[in-house]
């Protein structure tokens, strides 16, 4: 039978604040266990939480970027459950009154735009991490460095109808939070995590089917695979006349299957209630407005504008705008060297190759937009060839030298464009290779390259290639 697939996503974003949500401890990743901890984030008796204002700022940013309404008096609530990584025995989260509600995100799927509703965004603290040492049987340790690190949870409406839509939504959402600078979007390291609620229903049925919640998918690819697996699993059950059970399932990456983690009966009763240690979060109009003013251009709009302003292919724009800093870099170069396509090519081919090799980001790039623009101008003027340009680029990159003009001069790399000099050289080479000229003229056209190569060899690659071609054609036909 044919079913409609219904998917809703819950996304947790670890926020890029310097300090934790309720204490002054550092959020720096990778410190020795429990170094980033204090009485507050380890749940010592009597310690009290104090809200980090920056977290509210980030949540409001995310809310405004997804067209949410900002709630002026949102409330922190305690979510009560026992687990060793949760030092207080409750997680401070938001429940009845989250900070953002009722937004949406437009996604592109198969050349069409679809609007996905966002139910809510709320702030909460992360839990610590359990460490199970291999060689100590029956012993576990807890590392509270991550405890109390700020998160926002973004909950979508069940508006997605395929795994492709789910992935498109997730990608668009990640783009946004990364652009906003609130989250680094790293799925592998878990700073951007996603749970999926999936159900099937017969076409046209008004009510939703029973859903399963999927956890533990740490890449876009896994989200897609896990959803597809789950859809098939539920389809088989329904086709066989069975009933889908409400449960939480864990995706097993290695085996490519999901397994039940807990059923509805074992579901926690979290006993949410307003946290009496924290006052309602008051976000007035002025605060919202100041955040709105500080919002960057969001990825979708930026893409549209770049396509329109610079007339370069959409595929290139997507690469260039995947990272806000990269897009800024591109635009900065174009401002100084107004050939967008050439700039795009140099960034995507040369620059990205170097950055990838160094595993670094555009923000760490040793070549400034000014330096790159200058280099492109040198090529455009014909002062150096494209080939020499690449060589200069490499030197600029490794020496962090942004004066290519000086570099070309000092090393005598300028292109040889003197027609007389080149003509003499061509004459010499033709004369010295009499037999090859004959072969060429008898139809072995491939040999043209041989003559070009000889010229380049003699000029250490500095001969102007267009002129060499022209001179050779005149000489040997």
């Amino acid at each position: 039978m044919d079913y409609e697939i219904v998917i809703g996503l819950e996304v947790h974003c670890q926020l890029l604040t310097e300090t934790k949500i309720f204490c002054g401890c550092s959020t720096h990743f990778g410190n020795p266990p429990n170094q980033n901890s204090c009485p507050v984030c380890t749940g010592m008796p009597g310690a009290l939480p104090v809200l980090n204002r920056k977290v509210v700022d980030f949540a409001v940013r995310a809310g405004l970027a997804t067209a949410c309404e900002i709630i002026p008096n949102s409330v922190f609530a305690r979510k009560n459950y026992f687990y060793p990584d949760l030092p207080k025995g409750y997680q401070i989260s938001q429940f009845e009154l989250p900070i953002c509600v009722d937004g949406y995100l437009d996604i592109e799927v198969e050349e069409a735009t679809k609007r996905i509703g966002i139910t809510r965004i709320h702030m909460e603290e992360d839990a610590g991490k359990l460490v199970h040492p291999e060689h100590e049987h029956g012993v576990s340790y807890v590392d509270y460095n991550r405890a109390c690190v700020p998160l926002i949870e973004i909950v979508s409406e069940p508006d997605m109808r395929s795994s492709a839509e789910a992935v498109a939504y997730l990608k668009a959402l990640r783009d946004i939070v990364v652009y906003l600078g609130v989250c680094d979007g790293n799925m592998e390291e878990g700073s951007f995590r996603c749970d999926a609620n999936i159900s099937l229903r017969r076409w046209g049925a008004p009510e939703l089917g029973t859903r399963a919640e999927l956890k533990n998918m740490n890449s876009f690819r896994n989200v897609q695979r896990a959803i597809e697996y789950e859809v098939e699993r539920q389809r088989d059950i329904l086709d066989g006349g069975g009933l889908v059970v409400q449960e939480t399932r864990l995706w097993n990456v290695d085996r490519g299957i999901s397994m039940s983690m807990r059923g509805k009966e074992e579901a926690h009763d979290y006993r949410y209630f307003p946290d009496p240690d924290l006052l309602p979060v008051v976000v007035d109009e002025a605060w919202v407005e100041s955040v709105r003013q500080s919002l960057p251009e969001l990825p979708a709009l930026k893409r549209q504008r770049i396509v329109a302003d610079y007339a370069i292919p959409i595929a290139d724009v997507e690469v260039l705008t995947a990272d806000r800093a990269m897009a800024d870099y591109f635009e900065a170069v174009v401002k100084l060297f107004a050939q967008p396509k050439a700039v795009a090519n140099w960034i995507m081919v040369e620059l990205m190759k170097f950055l990838n090799e160094d595993k670094t980001s555009i923000t760490q790039c040793p070549i400034t937009p000014q330096g790159l623009a200058e280099l492109l101008s040198l090529i455009d003027e014909g002062a150096i060839s494209g080939k020499i340009g690449k060589q200069v680029f490499s030197q600029m990159y490794s020496a962090a030298d942004n004066d290519p003009r000086q570099m070309v001069e000092a090393q005598g790399l300028a292109q040889m464009s003197d027609a007389g000099e080149l003509a003499t050289l061509v004459d010499e080479i033709v004369a010295a290779n009499d037999d090859k000229v004959k072969e060429y003229q008898q139809g072995k056209v491939k040999l043209f390259g041989f003559f070009v190569g000889q010229v380049m060899k003699q000029t250490k690659g500095q001969a102007n290639p267009q002129m060499v071609n022209q001179l050779l054609k005149e000489k040997i036909g």
């Binding site: 009485p39 380890t42 749940g43 010592m44 008796p45 009597g46 310690a47 009290l48 939480p49 104090v50 809200l51 305690r78 009560n80 026992f82 060793p84 030092p87 207080k88 025995g89 409750y90 807890v142 009763d269 006993r271 949410y272 209630f273 009496p276 240690d277 924290l278 006052l279």
Partner: protein, 491 residues
Amino acid sequence: MELYNCSLEELWQRLEQGEVSSLEVTRSVFGRIAAVDDTIAAYLETDEKGALAQAEAADECRRKGEKTTPVTGIPLGLKDLLSTKGLKTTCASRMLADYRPEYDATVVARLREAGAVITGKLNMDEFAMGSSTENSAIKATRNPWDLKRVPGGSSGGSVAAVAAATAIATLGSDTGGSIRQPASFCGVVGMKPTYGRVSRYGLVAFASSLDQIGPVTLTVADAALLLGVIAGHDKRDSTSVDLPVADYYGALKKDIKGLKIGVPKEYFGAGLDPEVEAAVRLGCSQLAASGAQLDDVSLPHTDYAVATYYLLATAEASSNLARYDGVKYGFRADDADGLLDMYRKTRAQGFGDEVKRRIMLGTYALSSGYYDAYYRKAQQVRTLITRDFDKVFADCDVLVSPVCPTPAFAFGEKVDDPLSMYLSDILTIPVNLAGLPAISVPCGFTKAGLPIGLQIIAKPFAEETLLRVAWHYEQLAGWSGHRPTLAGEAV
């Protein structure tokens, strides 16, 4: 008079004038502890070595003419739920029997900063849950006025220490009457400041929206002095309020003529001991005679306060006490098999009966399907109770009532009947629900020689008025400063 018998105010003045040294005062207090604390059992732990060092430092400070405060060099005791760095903070629970905090509560830090001498940690009902200190997992504190009776609770140790002169003053905490009720049972002054007036940072939480730290002292002036040191905004406690701290002591003697005093009729209802009623009524007329104006007022939702309190306080407690799970600090059952079993056994063995009872009540009140009927409803009633006070305070400056319907009861009298124990807080609980400041001032003795307390309640953050009325009453009535005669002492 022995130094340990002096009020904080008197010692402050004598220290400032160089008549006595803090070392002498501190030695006197520790001598007193050695003499009577075996009998009273107010202390869970004393820190004589630390105290003497602090006393020397205070004397040094005065010798050098450095800035001092009213508590510089004064020996003060702390209820054992105030975190003290390096000094055990047990909450009178098996769960925290060996727990030594790595930080000082804000009030403790302020006392240290002000040069106070910390004598030690005082007994209480386990996690402040109780009205008699009988729920301490460690020992039973006796009422210095009658050793067969309870000192009240939960700050029983803090109050008995002041009554027995084993500390010049102490700090307690008041969630539903835990300072005022024992103060009335032991004939001393006990004050609960407005919610938010004193930082709760480092106070081991029972019910976060109700808990407040306050002074227990021999006189109202002492309470004013001590409050002045601990009050004020703390950025570590989001619920502490950023309002200036008045000169409470300096304002005590201002006139109370024309002040309007409300007498809530619901606080003089059935179950009120006739001797208590007579003493409090007499107190009211003494205040009237000094120029204050008495008015009968009504707080119609009073009857719902105890039920409301036991839903909200237990709900918060069920969550606040979840952290005692055997993972990070405190007691861990050693016969556990696996994580779940560790949780179960640790909490089953680590908590006493009353704590478990309240955790279960609170868990129930928050459970899915019951939340609206219990927790949410209780919050709504709390609002109604607060509005009752708002209305009355539109016309009155303060309210006067008994603190507790009865004087101190005997050990064992109520332990098996939690409901009747809960009802002993009926006149103090509404104040916590509304977050108001209130004080218990001695107002006489029963024929059997048991102290009686008079409660004065003021508007939010009107501690200055509250203390002023209390001070005037104290001057008129003259019941403060009386000392019980303990076994072995000359009568």
